[in-house]
Symmetry: C2
Subunit: 345 residues, 2 copies
């Protein structure tokens, strides 16, 4: 089984190698990001997306773009490094992972007494650690979650919580990859996930590339699929998990959870420990980003609704904990009653 | 308030005048159908759609295309009329209304002892009656349903059960038009309705053209709208209503009804009496048409999913009667327990 790698070092370790997700599913275009403009452009245009993947691509980008001023004296080097980090962070200001990963590189740079190429090597090692940690975390989520999936299962997912969103094998999709490695035959149903179609464009692409059978469906057809054809399990990713187990994820997740409950279908969420937010007591405190109306009015580059009409276009919705059968993290499977007020132990 | 007319006679009464729905919402293109090819093409390419509108356009088309052989002797005229009717019917073989409306024209032709232009005039009068009946029926549905909608209401609908689907003011949307005529201020939320986007392309267009405030949303966002913003009422159309009140309608309707139940939001269906099917005992007996995968894999001419993946793409779903608060017909509002086994009295 070949699982795609969304973000990695180039062969010469002097560039960030990404799959340009804007081109999917039509073409698999690999880009090597070498300049600051390359890196900022790739993140801001969503060539690379998914919280862990963005963080890692940004941190890798910070390292490779520091090569050109590696010969500077330490103080000047640190100033330039900070400037670059600020520019990269500004491409997706609300992406928590991006700030966190860039901060980790800056902290190592400041704590080190090295300079020049040897300092850059140290920073590269730090980012390689972040990358390895992300891969290991995905793998652990996959191993915990695979136990939930029986041979022959029909699994429904939403959006893309896959390899394309991380440096590893994903979160929700990691469970499917590991179950497949274990010899289980799984059929995945992927909600297309309007408006940006991450399900049909990305999830369907990465699963079919790995040889896993996958069918796409309109988001509105998921309840009908449950009723007419049967679904064994739903599993989705998460953008943020509140202390009480409420989950913010791509819009459409909540509707899926309601339908799953009606049909008695287990509904799981998979996410790394960094997604759990002990400071948010419940989903009511999660502010939902509203995205621009043209994602709905101009779908696919064609006019899909009159220019003059309004739009309700939230990026996320909140699924209350009571609808969630279990939450799979890199630490194990968590069951209700949920209490993440102290984070994951 | 200007409500669009989807199908009507041309000014000279020698052509069928339609709004080409393939061009919406970008352009309002009016076409006059004069030849058999025009008529068949308009129906088969979905330039005209919606069960009542198709039936009426087909019957009008049968009359206008008979003008060119009106001078034939009676028997030859009837033969040609039958041939044309067969060709028109074959464009949408499963559209019950089309066969019914064509049959009504043929029956009048056979029962009449007239010939030539005067026979064609008689057929035209018959079709005008069908048109007038459809308009009156829409109006009655609107009047019954308007009573359900309060001033200031936020109403959620799915697909297009509007003027564009009938010769009159629609079915589900008729309730909104009549309530607006009564001076009520209503905000409509229109599910975009993937894969063919009848909600954003057609419902949003005809409502905004009538000056009624409308917002579009992704189908997956409807449950979030109910939770975050509140919805007073859902109202949708129907393709078929079984004797026990189960409703087949555009895919996505069932998911909406489940979400409405969770939020305690009344869920209504609006349909003419011809939609009630006493011979179908329950929704389980309704066969669901599967449509081609490319509606999902190639949205609007753009590749939206890999070519190789499967698709679950039912045209309709079935909403069980228990989720339906009431059914608005031209005869009134029907409440549970539903029993349409003798049709509508």
């Amino acid at each position: 089984m070949v699982i795609v790698e969304a973000v990695r070092w180039s062969d010469d370790q002097r560039a960030v190698r990404i799959i340009d997700q804007r081109e999917l599913p039509s073409r698999e275009v690999v880009r090597e990001l070498r300049t600051l403009d390359d890196v900022c452009d790739a993140i801001s245009t969503l060539s690379v997306r998914g919280a862990p993947a963005i963080g890692i691509a940004g941190a890798m980008g910070l390292v490779v773009t520091s090569l050109e001023f590696a010969q500077l004296a330490r103080t000047s080097f640190l100033d330039r490094l900070q400037e670059n980090a600020d520019r990269i962070r500004a491409t997706r200001p609300t992406a928590v992972n991006l700030g966190w990963a860039l901060g980790r590189v800056l902290a190592v740079a400041r704590a080190s007494d090295e300079s020049g190429e040897s300092l850059v090597r140290r920073l590269r090692d730090e980012v390689t650690s972040i990358l390895d940690e992300d891969r290991a975390m995905c793998r652990r989520i996959g191993e915990h979650g695979a136990a939930l999936i029986r041979d022959g299962a029909r699994v429904l997912t939403h959006c893309n919580a896959g390899a394309l969103a991380t440096a590893g094998i994903g979160t929700a999709l990691a469970t499917i990859y590991v179950a497949t490695e274990q010899g289980k035959h799984i059929h995945v149903f992927a909600d297309e996930t309007r408006p940006l179609l991450q399900g049909s464009r990305l999830t369907a692409w990465e699963l079919s590339r790995a040889g896993i059978p996958v069918s796409v469906l309109a988001d509105g057809a998921a309840a009908s699929l449950m009723r007419e054809c049967g679904v064994d399990l739903c599993i989705v990713g998460a953008d943020r998990i509140a202390a009480n187990g409420d989950v913010a994820n791509k819009v459409g997740t909540y509707a899926l959870a309601i339908a799953a409950q009606r049909h008695g279908i287990p509904f799981y969420v998979a996410a790394p420990s960094s997604t759990f937010d002990p400071l948010t007591a419940s989903g009511d405190q999660i502010e939902i980003e509203q995205r621009q109306a043209n994602e709905l009015r101009m779908g696919f580059g064609v006019r899909t609704a009159p220019e003059s009409v309004g739009a309700y276009n939230p990026a996320f919705d909140v699924t209350p904990a009571e609808l969630i059968t279990g939450i799979v993290s890199d630490r194990g499977i968590h069951y209700p009653p949920y209490d993440f007020s102290k984070g994951l132990e």
